[in-house]
């Protein structure tokens, strides 16, 4: 039964991927090829669609693969499958987390973890910046996206001058992209 199969495969992906949606991509690619659900080029196409549309990469990819393999109900099965392990695990550890968070030892644990999390977010800003501004992620002038760079610089200045809601900043970014696309 394809629906149960989709659910189980995506449940396994959700359960065994550490490090978020991007870490899932190789796992999903593997599942697709072993089950012969899709061709490699179709999968590359899915990744670019998943990146260009809002929402978690994991959900986007699961929904798309599920739909192509088993229609609307297939996409429901795959998406539920990929989200279910998180939901169950969090429900399981939440009580523990909120109960012992204030314990002196746990306080020290989190004092040590917080700088790591801040560092991870900072690194991700650098990595995403590099991949967006440079063609093929190599640091050279020939593949430098000047337009995106100036838009980024402009948005930086704007957000320093005035505190803007993230959604507004994204909309402004999209409009600036569209406008520069028409001019240049």
């Amino acid at each position: 039964m394809i629906y149960i199969h989709l659910f189980i495969e995506f449940f396994r992906i959700g359960l065994f991927s550490f490090g978020g949606g991007y870490a899932m991509i190789p796992l999903i690619s593997n599942v697709i090829t072993t089950n012969q659900w899709m061709s490699a080029s179709d999968f590359t196409n899915i990744i670019s669609i998943a990146e260009m549309t809002p929402g978690p990469i994991a959900v986007n990819t699961a929904t798309y693969v599920g739909f192509k393999v088993g229609g609307t109900f297939g996409s429901i099965c795959a998406t539920t499958g990929v989200a279910m392990p998180s939901l169950l695990l969090i429900l399981f550890i939440s009580k523990f987390f909120f109960t012992y968070k204030e314990h002196p030892i746990m306080k020290n644990v989190f004092k040590g973890i917080r700088p790591v999390i801040a560092g991870l977010i900072l690194s991700s800003a650098i990595i995403i910046g590099k991949s967006v501004l440079f063609e093929h992620e190599s640091l050279s002038f020939s593949g430098f996206h000047y337009m995106t760079f100036f838009i980024t610089l402009g948005l930086f200045t704007l957000s320093f001058l005035k505190k803007l809601h993230p959604i507004l900043l994204i909309l402004i970014g999209g409009v600036l992209g569209l406008v520069t696309g028409f001019i240049f």
Partner: protein, 178 residues
């Protein structure tokens, strides 16, 4: 209580609809909506929840929504928040899968996306600055930030080991310093 559930669903639906580029890009939105606007979670709690989200398997976006939902309104809260964050993607992708086979070929979509990715860089950077303000209190925390950034940029070590390293360092060094 039903009002809280629906509010969680609404806020996370909004977050899901405007998160471009994966879990990290969601942090600025969560921070704005959950910490600043709604006041559901304290700044320090938020960063600790992000730590938990990244230490367990699964998509960071889903983990974070589930955890915040649980914190605000228990088990049902977790379910409503998770449904909220998933639904926009589900609807948009289903629509695309039904009617298009490719969207990335269009020039217009590409230029819009170039602008949006510029905004995403700014947002993640600003979220990092906010988190640094909460996390950096002394020399040790500065060292931990520097180590993390260097390891992530120059090696393939999984973030989970860095989180474990931070936790162990915290217990040992802050425990000793007391």
């Amino acid at each position: 209580m039903i009002k809280t559930y629906l509010e969680l669903f609404r806020v996370f639906f909004k977050i899901g609809a405007f998160t471009f580029g994966g879990g990290y890009a969601m942090i600025p939105l969560i921070e704005e909506e959950i910490v600043s606007v709604k006041g559901w979670v304290e700044k320090e709690d938020m960063i600790d929840m992000l730590a938990v989200s990244q230490s367990i398997p699964g998509a960071i976006a889903i983990n974070t929504s589930t955890l915040v939902g649980y914190k605000v309104a228990g088990k049902l809260g977790a379910i409503f928040a998770t449904l909220g964050v998933i639904l926009p993607s589900f609807l948009i992708i289903s629509f695309i899968a039904m009617f298009f086979s490719k969207i990335s070929d269009s020039n217009i979509v590409e230029t819009i996306f170039a602008g949006i990715s510029g905004a995403v860089i700014v947002l993640i950077f600003l979220a990092a600055v906010k988190m640094l303000k909460v996390a950096v209190k002394d020399v040790l925390s500065v060292i931990l930030v520097v180590i993390t950034v260097l390891v992530v940029l120059f090696t393939d070590v999984s973030p989970i080991y860095l989180i474990m390293f931070g936790g162990v360092t915290g217990v040992i060094l802050y425990g000793v310093m007391k």
